[in-house]
């Protein structure tokens, strides 16, 4: 289905020159296809990864000027100039990305808004090389077998072919696990990090990729038109690119294609209305954005990636049985009995002491519960271990190595998986895709995509989620959301699972089933740190319980000794046992 929606427009594009011998029309369509090369790359950045670039015209310009300069001044062949322009754009994007992508929010948009101003000034003042404000003229066409490509139809098919190659690559990227990670970063950075995705590097990679494609488009443009000036790809052009993407529907590759065609072809259609053209054009755009805020493509629901046929579980393990070799036996677990040791850990928020002097050790295959009154620092303790926040002081050692300085994604890859207090799933990915994301943390043996699909299906089946695998998170009940999050963590094959109130809101029967799932994980050799108020789960699972109050450990021991501890009773349990204890 996805293939059809993607390739059908291409077939349409291919027959356009056959329908008209009007050379002006063919040139318009040539410009459209050249633009599509920028748009699909920009879609990866904006639609998939959620990063807004308001200066993509600069990268198009870089490609255009590299081709213009190298062919007119240095006498290079156009074919040799194109990769140089792409490389220049890639390096420029890398440098911008390194400085801005670490920051959250609108920094890329701000930076890319300022960059064209600088670029424009350089072009205008460095006129020996760039031709200054008047631009570069008589840029030669591309040569093929000693002949310049002058035939309009031929060049049209040539750029269409290039676009097909670009589209093939971009759609492969979009439908891969990397594409899933882009969507995850867009929707929820913290969750993406917890799944082992390096948000910073991934963003830079996508930004570079989109810049390189933009430069390719710029080169193809100047070898067709033969002229480039600072105005050709100025700020208006950059903003038009974003408009095309948003009108068509960002985040669905064919949406951007549709938007480009609509916006570039519409003025031609409206030309007969002469002076009314800009008004009608603006009105159409306003109406589209008013009634289809997700763009034209937003009218259709995204079809999820379904890689594995549901028959697979008949071949694989039977439901609810566990096959450690298939679902992920623990990668070379260290023989050291102490998995995690925490020493004098402390964290303040403003004036509030959230965690203070926390110390304990966790053995491999042990389940430890942390309980305590609300606001005692339990969630903070888990966040410190997972790397979502960094401690003010103290050490955290995993298998003997200090990890307190590592970012969350690196700790996820070392084998620390975490679920959140309020279930955090990527809401525009299906249950199956959310679980697949978990494989980013998997660093044992690099999983092939096919193997990963099979392993995902086995996990989903084992946790009884097969019947909701292709639904979206808001379409399943809270218990299934919880299990999905847990599955995504287990897909990363962690040594240590951190669970923040996994039983909140679950019925007794569901808590029992969850406890069963967690016992299986303990048998495989995973350790678990569990924060919960549901005593049914805590007492049924924990080997040891740690009690926190005001950030300080007040008691530690076996479940029996803790439940009989006077301080715990008054601070936490209450004098009268509450009904859900």
């Amino acid at each position: 289905m996805q293939q059809i929606t993607l390739w059908a427009p291409l077939v349409l594009l291919a027959v356009i020159p056959l329908l008209s011998s009007n050379s002006y029309r063919i040139s318009v369509w040539t410009f459209i296809v050249i633009n599509l090369i920028v748009i699909v790359g920009l879609d990866l950045l904006l639609g998939f990864c959620g990063q807004l670039s308001l200066g993509h015209g600069v990268f198009v310009s870089l490609g255009a000027y590299a081709s213009a300069f190298l062919t007119t001044k240095a006498g290079w062949s156009g074919w040799a100039a194109i990769p140089v322009g792409m490389a220049a754009a890639g390096v420029t994007a890398f440098l911008i990305g390194v400085t801005t992508m670490r920051l959250r929010g609108y920094y890329l948009a701000m930076a890319t808004l300022g960059f064209p101003v600088v670029f424009d000034a350089i072009i205008r003042n460095w006129s020996d090389f760039t031709g200054g404000s008047s631009g570069v003229f008589s840029i030669p066409r591309l040569f093929l077998g000693g002949y310049a490509i002058k035939d309009q139809n031929f060049y049209y098919f040539f750029v269409l072919l290039v676009f097909c190659a670009v589209l093939l690559i971009v759609s492969q990227v979009a439908n891969s696990r990397f594409g899933l990670s882009l969507r995850a970063i867009h929707r929820d950075e913290a969750t993406a990090e917890a799944r082992g995705i390096d948000v910073y590097k991934t963003r830079i990679a996508v930004f570079v990729m989109s810049a390189v494609l933009a430069a390719l488009s710029g080169s193809l443009y100047v070898h067709y038109v033969g002229f480039v000036s600072p105005q050709t790809f100025g700020i208006n052009y950059s903003i038009m690119l974003v408009v095309m993407l948003v009108v068509g529907g960002a985040g669905r590759i064919w949406g951007g294609i549709l938007g480009t065609v609509v916006i570039m072809w519409l003025p031609e259609v409206l030309r007969s209305t002469s002076t009314w053209e800009p008004i009608i054009f603006g009105a159409i755009l306003a109406v589209i954005m008013l009634f289809f805020p997700a763009g034209i493509a937003g009218l259709w629901k995204r079809s999820p990636i379904i890689a594995t046929s549901p028959d697979l579980h008949n071949v694989g393990a039977a439901p609810n049985s566990h096959d450690p070799t298939a679902a992920g036996s623990l990668r070379n677990l260290s023989s050291a009995p102490v998995l995690l040791s925490i020493d004098d850990l402390g964290k303040n928020f403003g004036g509030v002491r959230a965690v203070d002097g926390l110390r304990y050790t966790l053995q491999s295959g042990q389940i430890k519960a942390i309980i305590g009154p609300n606001g005692a620092g339990k969630s903070t303790a888990l966040a410190l271990i997972a790397g979502a926040i960094f401690p003010d002081r103290g050490r955290i050692r995993l298998n003997g190595h200090s990890i307190e300085g590592l970012p969350a994604y690196a700790r996820a890859r070392l084998g620390i998986g975490k679920t959140f207090q309020h279930v955090r799933l990527i809401h525009d990915l299906t249950i199956r895709e959310n679980v697949t994301l978990g494989f980013f943390a998997f660093r044992g043996k690099k999983k092939q995509e096919g193997d990963a699909d099979a392993a995902v299906w086995q996990l989903i089946d084992r946790f009884g989620l097969a019947h909701v695998a292709d639904r979206y998170p808001h379409e399943v009940n809270p218990y299934h959301s919880r299990l999905t999050e847990l599955c995504a963590v287990i897909a990363g094959n962690p040594h240590l699972i951190l669970l923040d109130e996994p039983a909140a809101g679950l019925s007794k029967a569901e808590v029992d089933q969850l406890a069963g799932f967690l016992r299986v994980e303990r048998e495989i050799g995973r350790s678990i740190i569990l924060v919960d108020h549901v005593m049914q789960l805590v007492l049924g699972l924990a080997d040891e319980i740690l009690v926190l109050d005001y950030g300080i450990p007040i008691a530690e021991g076996t479940p029996e000794s803790i439940m009989n501890d006077g301080r715990v009773k008054s601070a936490y349990l209450g004098t009268k046992p509450a009904a859900n204890a």
Binding site: P373, N374, G464, H533
Partner: protein, 245 residues
């Protein structure tokens, strides 16, 4: 006080609530019980207008509110505590509580409002300690306390709670239950609470409804329901093995 007639709510693929009839009388505590995914939250959202209904009607205090917006229903005296959400994360704890009393600004009400604030801060000493802290930096459980506290500050006629005990420590759960009983007794406050913990729900409520797959399957006084524990287990357990739900 509240009369819900044949209320239905549809999502794109599923029927969340089918023809539900629910009554809450003046000064009554009513529990909505049911497994996860049974439709409790959807029903509460239908009653408060947060989810558009596809059929049926909602009457509140003898007027038809089916066509009213959520904020218009709240003006009539409903207060809603959603699951763990609905606090203003950028404001302080105290500002959140003050906003709860936003509609009680008249000079005549100032004593009542001050008394309610005392009540809330006595119930949740944690909130008193942290009254100048930005609410978004509270722990999950503390945010839940704040959400309940703010609902009390609106002095509602009907308090609607969706899983109010999520993430609260056992001691606090006990204290909130006691406080709800006190408000109920002293102010004739009517309460409608959705709860998946049947024991807790039945303990608190005068009457209960059990939802299963969007339909009300059992209705009765808490006592009569408590005697049918087996039946409730049946409905709660079935949701787990029910692959089609």
């Amino acid at each position: 006080m509240l009369k819900v007639r044949d209320l239905s709510i549809h999502y794109t693929r599923t029927e969340a609530v089918v023809g539900a009839n629910v009554n809450v009388r003046d000064g009554e505590i009513v529990a909505l019980l049911g497994a996860n995914g049974a439709g409790k939250s959807s029903l509460l959202k239908g009653i408060t207008g947060l989810e558009p209904n596809s059929g049926g009607s909602v009457d509140f205090c003898d007027s038809d509110v089916t066509r009213l917006q959520p904020h218009e229903r709240i003006l009539l005296g409903m207060a809603l505590v959603l699951e763990g959400r609905g606090i203003f994360g950028e404001l302080t704890v105290r500002e959140n509580l003050d906003l709860g009393a936003y509609l009680r600004r008249s000079w005549a009400m100032r004593k009542e409002v001050a008394a309610d604030l005392d009540l809330v801060l006595n119930l949740f000493p944690r909130l008193a300690e942290r009254s100048n802290q930005i609410a978004g930096t509270l722990s999950g459980g503390e945010q839940q306390m704040l959400a309940i506290g703010r609902a009390i500050m609106t002095a509602p006629k009907l308090l609607i709670l969706d899983e109010p005990f999520l993430g609260l420590s056992p001691r606090i759960v006990g204290e909130v239950v006691n406080m709800l009983r006190v408000l109920h007794r002293e102010r004739q406050l009517a309460i409608l609470v959705a709860e998946q913990n049947a024991v807790l729900g039945l303990d608190l409520a005068d009457r209960s409804y059990v939802l299963h797959r969007g339909r009300i399957v059992i209705e009765g006084t808490a006592k009569s329901l408590a005697d049918q524990a087996g039946l409730i287990d049946f409905y709660f357990g079935r949701a787990l093995t029910d692959k089609t739900s």
